[in-house]
Subunit: 253 residues, 2 copies
DNA sequence: CGCTTACTTGAGTCTGGTCAAACGGGGTGG
DNA sequence: CCACCCCGTTTGACCAGACTCAAGTAAGCG
């Protein structure tokens, strides 16, 4: 299940002082004592292959993770196999907050690409709240932000048409990619298959394919070798009637 | 906008020591110092009529609320007026967590019935985290639980058929009603119109009506005078392939 | 070279949407 | 008291968006 990182075979452990996430402009800086605390809070790293299951529904998980690199997605299954993808997890996101606090996990998480994850022990969380109340607040903040994303997603699946949904999803993922990967990538490519998109939008694979071709015909996005490429972000946003991500600098870990 | 409570015209302010929520079996007890703190944290109460807007999208709100009595719903609008209801708020739920922490509200909240709400000042939240770290943890817990509910809702709208969605929604609301209103009500009645249900399920009003009649024909629920009545909760859950709410005692305020 | 995985495309069907009209109860003004 | 209106529910007829089944293509891999 766990595997060594192909991309960084020598450094198995990044010290928090050199955490690559902290340096991204989208995130707020730590104070020195917060940094110390987080360093002691970190338990290790997990490196996984693409396709690995990081969290399994109906299971207890003793850990929380912060994504250091790579993409994953959160999903739920119906008993007969229908799958709904709930959200995507990118560098800086916290895994296991969503329902891990409460008891059994109510969803699964699967890696879309090879990933490195920073591990924390769940049962030390109360120490964090006691010793670093501001970090506790940050965790609530992160949870609230996740809820915001879910809200927009639910609006999309419930009330947008197929082409609007697809436009929203692609624009949304593109915006998140740009937040973490520094800034403007010329043609952001998303590491998804059309099946993932279908299961996110609540559409069938076939109809998703046709919808994506319609987006391509309008010159908004196209399907390249490495997945979906964004051509006209503004156009996508306007099709979806979507305003974009808030620009606040956000906390993490 | 604010109105006096019809049901409790004399006591405009319930002291936290006599908070009706605390006595419900679904919620965990406070320690004495927590209770003291929360008492000082409370800023007042808000009493609203049915139909009142408690929180408005694209607006800043200086307050958080805990629902003392009544029902409300959280929703988002598309620019052209399409509405998606995201979740319902019942006694014990916190209003304003979802996105208020971050900046502008990204959704609105409207009262379904007359309500009493307990008000807190948002900018005193950091004091709470500093002085009562466990309450801080509880707030995160509450946010995580909300996210769980949204997850299930998204699964529903994305992957369940019309009749499954309706069955899920009714079963879900019934379960929440039973958690707070003590226990078994014989024929729980939900204070919704079919338009609310349609906007929750992502269906049209007409199709929602037909779907509800199909549920009635199967003897699972029916439409009474005061809204939807649940007849066979187990049947609804099995149609929806839904396992029910976790039974943990949960924190609040 | 055959196998698998992912994307495409066509044809026919069905679920759910739209438009339109009617019903029934509660409230209001004449 | 009655006529009228409004809101929410109900029903019918028709249409369209999305689903299923099925087959074909293209790229990557052992």
């Amino acid at each position: 299940m766990a595997a060594s990182t192909p991309t960084r075979p020598k450094t198995k452990q990044v010290p928090c002082t050199e955490c690559p996430i902290r340096q991204m402009p989208a995130f707020r800086a730590f104070k020195p004592d917060e940094l110390d605390f987080v360093s002691s809070f970190k338990r290790g790293e997990l490196h996984t292959d693409k396709g690995a299951t990081i969290v399994q529904e109906a299971t207890h998980s003793a850990h929380l993770f912060t994504v250091l690199s790579g993409w994953a997605f959160r999903y739920k299954l119906l008993r007969d196999g229908r799958r709904q993808i709930l959200n995507y997890l990118v560098p800086g996101d916290l895994i296991g907050l969503q329902s891990g606090l409460i008891g059994e996990m109510q969803h699964s998480v699967e890696a879309l690409t090879p990933m490195s994850l920073c591990m924390f022990e769940r049962n030390k969380l109360s120490t964090l709240y006691r010793k670093q109340p501001e970090l506790g607040f940050d965790i609530t903040w992160i949870a609230a932000r996740e809820e915001q994303m879910l809200d927009e997603n639910l609006l999309s699946v419930g009330r947008r048409s197929a082409i609007e949904r697809a436009a929203y999803l692609i624009a949304f993922l593109c915006a998140r990619l740009q937040q973490t990967s520094g800034s403007r990538v010329r043609r952001p490519a998303l590491p998804l298959t059309q099946q993932h998109i279908a299961d996110t939008l609540g559409l069938s694979l076939v109809h998703t394919n046709r919808t994506l071709r319609r987006l391509a015909a309008r010159g908004l996005a196209r399907w390249g070798e490495r997945g979906c490429e964004v051509i006209d972000l503004g156009g996508l946003m306007s099709v979806a009637q979507w305003e974009g991500l808030p620009e606040t600098r956000r906390p993490f870990i």
